[in-house]
């Protein structure tokens, strides 16, 4: 039994919610948001700290409150959604198979929006040497246990990775009575926002050791300790610098990976630099009718920008649903010097476009430049650029042409 909808949104987190609300504002009502958890909200449900919504709402909200603003709109507008529903597969011709306790559904959609968010990088994928005891948690899992399941994960804590989640958890654990001994970061600079270094670590006297990593994990049953080493300029452990830290809990905040299993299932190519789909300025993937927004496209720092991105994507989706197609974007965009990745990866050159990018190193002062055919079309001076903070630059269409490779660089 095949159902049809104009739009199917996979994921009821911040990206999926903002996309759905904006689609409705644009006049699209035949849509369905599919959420695998019991409630809408996505990862925001467990992010109980504040700092969300500063740009969007001018208030410092907690994650659940931020999500609540959108969920309220979903309810007011009677936007259809299902929960406890997992998407099992997505076919290249936009047939989405879902399952929930109420049964299986096969849905053919005119447009599919990927809004699945991301997963955490694991200890296993880093192949950190040593034993594999209990007491090793990725930061998001620890956060979920503490904030949603009412479980305290440990007492003597060491944290690997100074990403925002790791620092947030350093503070959370400390407030709940654990002793966070230190945060170790393999890079020579923090991976998360500077204000989190201050309000999560410095405020609580938690030392941050840059250029350090964990080289051994000990404990036959529960964790008993870790070995920490300094690293050199190539991020390799320096022999002879090993120090032992006795602890019962290791929190890993070592990276987020966009969760694109379904994107790959649909036969859609990913950009190895973002690990999200390769998209054009409409956030349409290389396969027609498939769009992506939020962390599934590229990992964001701020949910406010996830919402903006999802809303812009919704406008594209609405246009696609109305017209049946969108203009071709054949101008390739490449990250140049100093830039780790850029989104979108293709533009038309005939519309204003906003590029989102990340630096691949720390730059005290530099120039963010957009070039086409090797000629700079736009430059902006920047200070204190760090990879941890996503950058944006809007290029008006007058400065672009419909042919010639576009390069975005930091020099």
């Amino acid at each position: 039994m095949m159902e049809t909808h104009d739009v199917l949104i996979i994921g009821g987190g911040p990206a999926g919610l903002a996309c759905a609300v904006e689609l409705h504002k644009q006049g699209v009502t035949d849509m369905l948001v599919v959420e695998r958890e019991a409630k809408l909200g996505g990862i925001l449900r467990q992010c109980i700290h504040d700092g969300f919504g500063l740009t969007r709402f001018g208030e410092s909200l907690s994650g659940p409150e931020y999500a609540g603003r959108f969920i309220e709109e979903i309810r007011k507008r009677h936007i259809p959604y299902v929960t406890d529903t997992t998407v099992l597969s997505v076919s290249p011709d936009r047939v989405v198979t879902t399952v929930s306790p109420s049964g299986m559904r096969f849905i053919k959609a005119k447009a599919v929006v990927f809004a699945m968010g991301c997963r955490e990088r694991t200890r296993g994928s880093l192949a950190i040497a040593g034993e594999r005891p209990s007491g090793v948690f990725t930061a998001g899992v620890a956060q979920s246990y503490i904030n949603l399941y009412n479980k305290m994960v440990g007492k003597e804590v060491v944290i690997l990775g100074s990403g925002d989640i790791g620092m947030i958890m350093a503070r959370r654990l400390t407030l709940e009575g654990a002793h966070v001994q230190a945060v170790f970061e393999i890079l020579p600079m923090p991976s998360g926002l500077p204000r989190n270094v201050h309000q999560c670590l410095e405020d609580y006297g938690i030392p941050l050791y840059l250029s350090h990593t964990i080289t051994d994990i000990n404990g036959a049953s529960r964790l008993t300790g870790v070995t920490v080493s300094e690293v050199d300029g190539q991020l390799r452990p320096i022999p002879g610098t090993e120090k032992e830290y006795a602890c019962d809990t290791l929190i890993l905040s070592v990276g987020l990976i966009p969760e694109n299993e379904l994107t790959v299932d649909a036969g859609i190519p990913l950009d190895p630099k973002t690990r999200g789909a390769d998209v054009d300025e409409y956030h349409q993937t290389e396969r027609e009718g498939f769009f992506a927004a939020g962390n599934v496209l590229h990992v964001h720092d701020l949910v406010d920008f996830v919402s903006l991105e999802a809303e812009k994507t919704a406008c594209s989706v609405a246009e696609y649903v109305a017209k049946g197609c969108l203009p071709i974007c054949s101008v390739e965009v490449v990250p140049g010097q100093g830039v780790g990745h850029v989104v979108p990866q293709r533009v038309s050159g005939e519309r204003d476009v906003t590029f989102s990018l990340r630096a691949n190193r720390k730059l005290a002062s530099c120039s963010l430049e957009v070039l086409q055919n090797g000629v700079a079309v736009m430059k902006r001076p920047l200070r204190n650029v760090v990879p941890a903070v996503m950058l944006e630059i809007t290029v008006p269409k007058a400065k672009l042409s419909p042919s010639g490779i576009v390069e975005v660089r930091l020099v």
Binding site: M104, R119, S125, E131, S134, Y149, N218, A220, S221
Partner: protein, 486 residues
């Protein structure tokens, strides 16, 4: 003190459980004393999962004979017991003239051992079999295969339990006494009494043999580290590929698994510490480098995790590895079956080893057949492997199949519940993991572990601090964040 058992088996691993199951074909009261909290925590759950062809062992040895028997029966056994087995074949790959000669000797040994279908293949044929491997020729063993080692061990144990065998977990035998013709097995908990005792203690075989009074066996550990690769790489390896082996060591091989992952390893280092399963950094690096020479698709971005296993090898005074020792020393330890050095191919040979053990016992005592013995066990229904129509039917029957818990591998709540309510009474997180394959995917439990922990708590009435990962003391939590009362 407890009832007198007819037989107590020390060790609930693949061999101990195979023995328990074979014994259950007779009217005997049978118990298994297992040190850990589940049946596959040691060597049985820490290997390559290969069903060996039988060519790599000295002709006339028990290893050769019982491996071949085990290989032949594995297909029927997997259907009978509901575990995954794939007779996918195996290639031993070489490049030099010396290696060619070695493979010819191995092939001859295989033929002498009774192995069917062995052939030398040229580069062209090798690359038809395994396109992604580097090599000029190979010995191809079409009857080799792969098995889910957790699935096999658990299936044997559960079928044994369903046929009346009682499993005691968290019971390590510390001393054995013989009083008035009865064995008393003193453990960390109770003392158990039995007429027959079987030493299937694997890594503990030397210790238990000493306890029986059968001293003098030197048992060393061979520690092997492994890397598991993402299922993305599975299509590139349709069968295990090994470099040219010797009769004592298999080499750094790459092996596909019944789930579609690829395993790189093992390394091999002698160890006397049977409690340390840590993986060394230098081994991770070595595995990737060495394995890549044979199969150049080992990339860090595909690493799922690492693991380690230790094989118990019986060696002589010169350190030469010996054959399986399976004996009853009527003079020193009557009614005690002593198994020493059951290492590779112990997994493949587990049921034939068990049958040999029963034969030895029946030479000394008549056993009455158990007419109620049921050799069949139905494995877990795997939602993710069904067709969409079958899935829809299943969810209609039982809505818990529609609640996906492990999202990386689409494993349902119904499967989790069935694993939690297992016939052995295992209560650990890895108990669920080994039975459902949950937490084995890319996110390594990042999504599902909280749900599995909650299900364990709720279904089994565990307190927070009682939820353990695998071993005693591997608690996940130290308590609640907020108590019910201020």
């Amino acid at each position: 003190m407890r009832q007198l058992f007819d037989v107590l088996v020390i060790g609930g691993g693949v061999v101990g459980s195979a023995i328990a199951r074979e014994l259950a074909r007779y009217e005997l009261s049978i118990g298994v004393l297992e040190k850990n909290l589940d049946v596959c925590d040691e060597t049985s759950g820490r290997n390559s999962g290969v069903v060996h062809g039988g060519f790599a062992y000295d002709t006339g040895s028990w290893k050769a004979k019982l491996c071949l028997q085990g290989n032949r029966l594995m297909g029927d056994l997997s259907a009978e017991l509901g575990f995954d087995f794939l007779r996918c074949g195996k290639v031993l790959v070489g490049n030099t003239d010396a290696e060619y000669a070695q493979l010819e000797r191995t092939l001859a040994q295989g033929r002498a051992n009774g192995v069917q279908g062995l052939e030398m293949v040229d580069e062209k044929r090798l690359h038809e079999l395994v396109p992604a491997v580097i090599g000029k020729f190979a010995m191809y063993s079409p009857n080799s295969g792969i098995v889910d080692p957790f699935g096999l061990t658990i299936a044997l144990a559960e079928n044994a339990a369903m046929n009346g065998v009682v499993y005691f977990f968290d019971r390590e035998v510390e001393d054995i006494r013989r009083v008035d013709g009865i064995y008393e097995l003193v453990t960390n908990d109770e003392t158990y009494r039995c007429r027959w005792v079987v030493n299937a203690a694997g890594l503990g075989c030397g210790k238990v043999s000493d306890m029986l009074g059968i001293t003098g066996y030197k048992v060393i550990g061979s520690k092997g580290d492994y890397i598991i690769l993402d299922k993305r790489t599975g299509p590139l390896l349709p069968m295990p590929a090994y470099p040219v082996p010797s009769n004592t060591y298999m080499g750094i091989h790459v092996t596909n698994t019944t789930d579609g992952n690829v395993i790189v390893g093992p390394t091999a280092e002698a160890t006397g510490n049977f409690a340390y399963y840590g993986v060394y950094q230098k081994n991770i690096d070595y595995l990737a480098e060495s394995g890549s020479r044979l199969w150049p698709h080992i990339r860090k971005q595909d690493y799922i995790r690492t693991y380690c296993g230790i094989l118990p090898k019986w060696v002589d005074e010169k350190g030469v590895i010996q054959d399986f020792k399976m004996e009853i020393k009527d003079d020193i330890a009557p009614n005690a079956v002593n198994l020493v050095g059951i290492e590779s191919p112990g997994l493949t040979a587990s049921v034939p080893i068990a049958r040999h053990v029963i034969d030895m016992m029946r030479e000394r005592e008549p056993f009455k057949p158990n007419v109620a013995f049921n050799p069949r066990r139905k494995g877990l229904v795997r939602f993710s492997r069904l067709s969409p129509d079958e899935q829809a039917e299943l969810v209609k029957e039982n809505p818990d199949y529609g609640q996906i818990v492990c999202r990386c591998q689409n494993i349902s709540k119904a499967e989790m519940l069935e694993a939690i309510h297992n016939p052995l009474g295992v209560k650990t997180m890895t108990g669920v993991k080994y039975r459902t394959r949950g937490m084995m995917g890319r996110c390594q439990g990042g999504y599902c572990q909280m749900r599995i922990a909650q299900l364990l708590e709720k279904e089994l009435g565990l307190a927070d601090t009682e939820v353990v990962y695998s071993r005693k003391g591997s608690n996940l939590f130290v308590g609640k964040v907020r108590e019910d009362k201020a």
